[in-house]
Amino acid sequence: MKVMELAESLSSCRVLVVGAGGIGCELLKNLVLTGFKNIEVIDLDTIDVSNLNRQFLFQKKHVGKSKAQVAKESVLRFCPSANITAYHDSIMNPDYNVEFFRNFQLVMNALDNRAARNHVNRMCLAADIPLIESGTAGYLGQVTVIKKGQTECYECQPKPTQKTFPGCTIRNTPSEPIHCIVWAKYLYNQLFGEEDADQEVSPDTADPEAAWNPADAAARATASNKDGDIKRVSTKEWARSTGYDPVKLFNKLFKDDIMYLLTMDKLWKKRKAPLPLDWTEIHHLEFSQEEACGTGLKDQQVLGVQGYAQLFHRSVETLRSQLIEKGEGAELVWDKDDPPAMDFVTAAANLRMNVFSMNMKSRFDVKSMAGNIIPAIATTNAVIAGLIVLEALKTLNSEFDQCRTIFLNKQPNPRKKLLVPCALDPPNPSCYVCASKPEVTVKLNVHKTIVQALQDKILKEKFGMVAPDVQIEDGKGTILISSEEGETEANNNKFLSDFGIRNGSRLQVDDFLQDYTLLVNLIHSEELEKDVEFEVVGDAPDKAPTPSVPEEGKNIANGNKDSAQPSTSSKAAAEDDDVLIVDSDEEPSSSTMEASPESSNRKRKHHGTDTDDAASKRKRLDQQPADDDEDIIALD
């Protein structure tokens, strides 16, 4: 067996493990047991209580400490001869450049978000180092091998983008619980966190559907004057001026703002109008069926309006004192595992659901949706980490033809396979990342798109760059965006058309760190759909409900954290724009969670015996489980 000959070379081989979470812990253990001696591990995250059910290198006493560091120490306790370097840092930090990646014979991802996966994919392509990619979600898992020029890269097949919600749905006309949950998370940031203009929570007067008639203005003015000071000041400023008075906040959010919305009567012609809540009134109401639905754990009960009003009151007070404790100008960061933050979102979201006549949700369910939680268990991670090592051995032996993408099913499929290996596909020649001259075409409105949006939403978020430099191919080599600070900031708020960019213009985009150059062809269009800023040609416009997902709204497991920003970075969690839809019912959301990867399983079941065909695999890849690790997400 070649494996055995290989064993000797393992002690001299250097490998990088990106992520020390669920898969990472298992993987580190397997690597030292297999005989790897030189291991570097990087993770920017710290240990949380909810990690302990599977990340076995961590114990209660380690909560709050660096995952990479503790993982290293625990492994060394059992295997003192290993040579492990730990970095408590983001892999996207420019220190980890192509040279850094070239130090290794192999890189193994144990990540939980798409942005970092994209980035490591590019770094490994640039350094020409093989990469093993993996992920788990609940009972499902997947491992694959990426080798420049020989296999598909992580980005060869477009992945479904996350479902986002139009601003006016969030602010004016929520129709599903998730809309209220997103609103509640925005509200948290508006009140306690970093304010973001894209996360407004107050009524949106510019809603095209409302088609304001100026004659209505008077009515509006009266409605909004009830509280005297509902001027268009920032929500935070206003809240601060009231001393974060929970009752005033309550009445503004659930009464006055709602009454204001009611004046936008066009919105309610075909919809059921919202019903404002008044703090004093609800406390006088007798709630005959204040039934606590759902037995068992406290978290799984649905409280009544009064209960949520009380929870709102309590959590605002707690968060207020947290804010005071932190001192002037401090900001809180939303974290689904922080009880007061979660209480606040649960309460605010449910009160809004009540206002908009929706069925309220338990804290447990709200947490699933707000945190985009993917269930995660030790067993799946153990299986996947074992498979990674086996692929690693073949990779180090350069047996790429033997390498496989392997899917782990929940239970044996109709062909009685629990594990389904698929042959690796060759690179996609038109991949915008690993093709020899990557090129892409983007449709946008040059008169409405500002340089900042090009940089943040298109180049960074959509195309996964970290620090892009952009040059216009106009014969003059005009620099539109420079990654050097202070060079092109003045351009940020100008429209693309201000630089002579028009239909057919080409941009040369460079990311120095990723050693990646992309040629962007622009198509000017005035006919993009509402709320769509740009479209990548050849990319189906909205992939959120992929054909393999049975129902819209059950689309979780794939993306969850596959958001544009590293989910583990709390900063990012506050910045990201996307939200995934998660539906849930009274079941502990298991059924929901598994919905999408399962359905893709179904698609595969008729295929060949040993290795499944590429098309079916692609279905599954679209659904790439996000991995366990930390299941946060970056919602808003």
């Binding site: 067996m1 055995m4 599977r54 059992f78 009972y139 929706m358 939680i373 268990i377 153990a382």
Partner: protein, 502 residues
């Protein structure tokens, strides 16, 4: 207060798994006592994967002392434990992973325990045997089979993983089927539902109300009007109705798997010893045959849909109330049954019955064949083996090789290829074992020499089989999801796997 604190901290720690198996699944785990025989690398890995999610207790049975080799391939043993008893050393280290779990060990070989105190094994919820010699496996298998204790056999050999589940009868209430159809009874609405549907008059409703009518009502109304060829309204709820109509209009009938359970002998003859699953199955059967008019109790859940809160809750309550009523009738049957052999009615809780009724359409019973049946010349599954062996590289060949290796061990008290200088010799000896096995069982199949060579190479331990093994263990313990039946083989070189019924 501390009780609540403890509960909350558990909720936090287990948050990510509660979302898969719920708090009652977790309770099942916490009440389980698992026995591991042999704290090898695979064994401790399996246990690690059960200790982390929080099983109640484990007991390791192992007569071996920790060797240098153990320390090399077992993450939980360190060089300072060399010479100590392996059960003790592993228990100490596994215990550290989760303070909620109680760890015990017995420094004795399973054979000795079987000699002196076979009843020792009766107390466990599950016994996991790792790297057991064939003789021990068969002996223990028969003790556990008679006692009705599930037995999971695991072994890794070279790059081959093997698992065998031996359980006489394993009942699953929550099988968590994929794509379960709703139970809406639109083809045969019950009285309360009929009345509720009648309370709607779609034609005289205002637009706002009309567009917030649950699609279930829309479909029901449509069904009422025979020969209806009206055009659907351009409203979201109508779109939803059209989308759902195919899955909503499934005929109400007892699924065949549930029917089989009703007809099983265990359901027929309830005794005071009958497990609650069968008592409840009997109760539901009585319901179906009497009050239910051939139908299962109503499940009582409806999917989320576009509707205003009020209408939705009213409709939901119609189904929920009916489900409660049906469950209450089932309860009565169960109660009568329990009383008939002098058991208190509360020996099966209201809640259990409700859960059972809700899952009545998804009940599963897994029956594995015993090891004795698998090994006996008269009852072994010859068809499965020969038909699989039509393709020479079927995972079945790995099974035959493992059986041959056991034979080798029986004859030589060691596994083939352990000593490099004997490899050539061992290949021939192993070949003889393969041939005698095939001959004995009159198996006319061909085992390629390649496999015999492969099995003579130095064994390289696999630890990841442990993940799958622990997963199956959790299914058994929680009685949720359907475990495999009954043999699982994994080939790490080709990354292929298969399950067989042997």
């Amino acid at each position: 207060r501390t009780m609540t604190d403890h509960k909350t901290s558990k909720e936090q720690k287990y948050d990510r798994q509660l979302r898969l198996w719920g708090d009652h699944g977790q309770e099942g785990l916490e009440n389980a006592h698992v026995c591991l025989i042999n704290a090898t690398a695979t064994g401790t890995e399996i246990l690690k994967n059960l200790v982390l999610p929080g099983i109640g207790a484990f007991t390791i049975v192992d007569g071996h002392k920790v060797s240098g080799e153990d320390v090399g391939n077992n993450f939980f043993l360190t060089s300072s434990s060399i010479g100590k008893n392996r059960a003790q050393a592993a228990t100490e280290l596994l215990q550290e992973l989760n303070s909620d779990v109680s760890g015990n060990f017995v420094e004795e070989s399973p054979d000795k325990l079987l000699d002196n105190d076979p009843e020792f094994f009766h107390r466990f919820s599950l016994v996991i045997g790792v790297q057991l010699p064939e003789s021990t496996c068969l002996r223990l298998g028969s003790v556990l089979w008679d006692a009705g204790v599930p037995f999971l056999v695991c072994r890794t050999y070279g790059l081959i993983g093997y698992m065998r589940l031996i359980v006489k009868e394993h009942t699953v209430i929550e099988s968590h089927p994929d794509n379960a159809l709703e139970d809406l009874r639109l083809d045969q609405p019950f009285t309360e539902l009929k009345h509720h549907i009648e309370s709607y008059d779609l034609d005289s409703m205002e637009k706002k109300d009309h567009s917030h009518t649950p699609w279930i009502i829309v479909v029901a109304k449509y069904l009422e009007k025979e020969g209806n060829n009206g055009t659907p309204e351009d409203e979201e709820n109508f779109e939803e109705a059209i989308k759902n109509v195919n899955t909503a209009l499934n005929p109400t009938k007892v699924p065949s798997a549930t029917e089989d359970i009703f007809n099983a002998e265990q359901c027929e003859n309830i005794t005071s010893q009958s497990p609650s699953f069968w008592v409840m199955a009997h109760g539901v059967r009585d319901f179906v045959r009497n009050e239910g008019n051939g139908k299962l109790p109503v499940r009582g859940t409806i999917p989320d849909m576009i509707a205003d809160s009020d209408k939705f809750i009213k409709l939901q309550n119609v189904y929920r109330d009916k489900a409660m009523k049906d469950a209450a009738v089932v309860s009565k049957h169960v109660e009568a049954l329990l009383q008939s052999f002098g058991k208190p009615p509360e020996s099966i809780s209201e809640q259990e019955i409700k859960l059972f009724c809700k899952n009545a359409a998804f009940l599963r019973v897994v029956r594995c064949r015993s090891l004795a049946e698998e090994y006996s010349m008269d009852t072994f599954n010859k068809d499965e083996i020969t038909s699989c062996m039509d393709s020479a590289d079927s995972e079945m060949v790995l099974y035959l090789m493992l059986r041959s290796v056991d034979r080798f061990y029986q004859q030589h008290s060691r596994y083939p290829g352990v000593y490099n200088y004997q490899v050539e010799e061992d290949i021939n000896k192993l070949k003889l074992c393969v041939n005698s096995l095939l001959q004995e069982y009159s198996l006319n199949v061909n085992v390629k020499d390649d496999y015999i060579h492969e099995f003579c190479k130095e064994a390289h331990c696999l630890s990841f089989v442990a993940g799958s093994a622990a997963q199956e263990a959790i299914k058994i313990i929680t009685h949720q999801f359907v475990p495999f039946n009954n043999t699982f083989l994994y080939n790490a070189m080709s990354q292929t796997s298969a399950t067989f019924q042997l």
